[in-house]
Symmetry: C2
């Protein structure tokens, strides 16, 4: 069922770009190769795309983490007096570690060409991990929104602004990870039948 | 790529259950059939499983909808004075309609054996729909939790209890739909390569 050997996309086969100009007699020879190279390209693009999305998620959750952790201005303006903000901080830290680990693993796999996990396991870990962290991120960001809204009705200062910024970063991280989970789902769907 | 004709699981082929008692000479004849019937069984089970999960999600979101909509007890104890509860109600209604539509469609497909949508489209609709509604449900339920917690610190009455019940139903609906989205992802991964 699972194919453990990994065939990296070959860059030197570039026939599809010139296929349109070849005469009808030659089209027959390129017939079997074109779909395969197209598939390699698509998979390569997906790999880079999901790496970029995870990088974005790492950036956004790191920002949410830093902004919220430094959001202490004395008196009632301390983030750790509110459970919503503590929740957001906790999930931002967790998401930072998760996405950092994923980005490291995928960069290493792209550069060395070796797989740390078996291919199917890796796709499963990607899919479930992204999904779960995305659910946690959207939950924490939504729970912090009403409190901030209510505070801003009374006062609009650096504390509420920083909270709003951290919440936005949480939402951006969620969107990146949700898209990445969709790509992981697609990968899970195609990789075992090559 | 996509195979539009649908082969329903055949119940009359029941060789795997008695395969263990057949002599070695007969095992050769059952060799090609057993994996296929096993696959049919698994797909049938998954179909029923996802239908049951969607049914549960329908039940829970209907409960959340009814409990929250009837949560008016005068004075400050009206759900429509709080944006979190209005959000929860809106998403519960949306989720009720979505899951009701899905359950109707799948029941009709199971009973008539005809597909309303093309198979690949149907799997895509299932996967993306479940995913999006699950995100909305977890977001609305999490946003309503802190407000209810804070109210219950002051007073514990029928209003806060009903709110807590509606939130729990929202979370249960989320869990059902998240599991259903996983099954849809699995289906999306297997159905196009039969």
């Amino acid at each position: 069922m699972s194919n453990s050997e990994h065939t990296p996309p070959k860059k030197d086969v570039e026939s599809p770009a010139t296929d349109n100009t070849t005469p009808a007699a030659e089209t027959g020879t390129g017939f079997g190769v074109a779909p395969i190279t197209r598939r390699w390209r698509r998979e390569d693009m997906l790999k880079r795309g999901s790496l970029a999305l995870r990088g974005l998620a790492l950036l956004f959750s790191l920002l949410a983490f830093i902004i919220m952790a430094s959001n202490k201005h004395g008196d009632w303006k301390d983030f750790d007096k509110y459970e919503e903000y503590r929740y957001l901080l906790a999930i931002a830290i967790l998401s930072t570690f998760y996405t950092a680990g994923q980005v490291l693993r995928h960069v290493q796999e792209l550069s060395t060409g070796k797989q740390m996990l078996e291919k199917r396991t890796s796709a499963m870990v990607d899919f479930f991990g992204d999904q779960i962290v995305a659910y946690l991120l959207v939950s924490s960001a939504s729970s912090a929104v009403p409190l901030t809204n209510r505070m801003r009705e009374g006062a609009d200062n650096i504390f509420t602004d920083s909270s709003a910024a951290a919440i936005s970063m949480g939402f951006f991280a969620f969107i990146s990870l949700a898209l990445s989970a969709l790509i992981s789902g697609y990968k899970l769907s195609t990789q075992s039948y090559i």
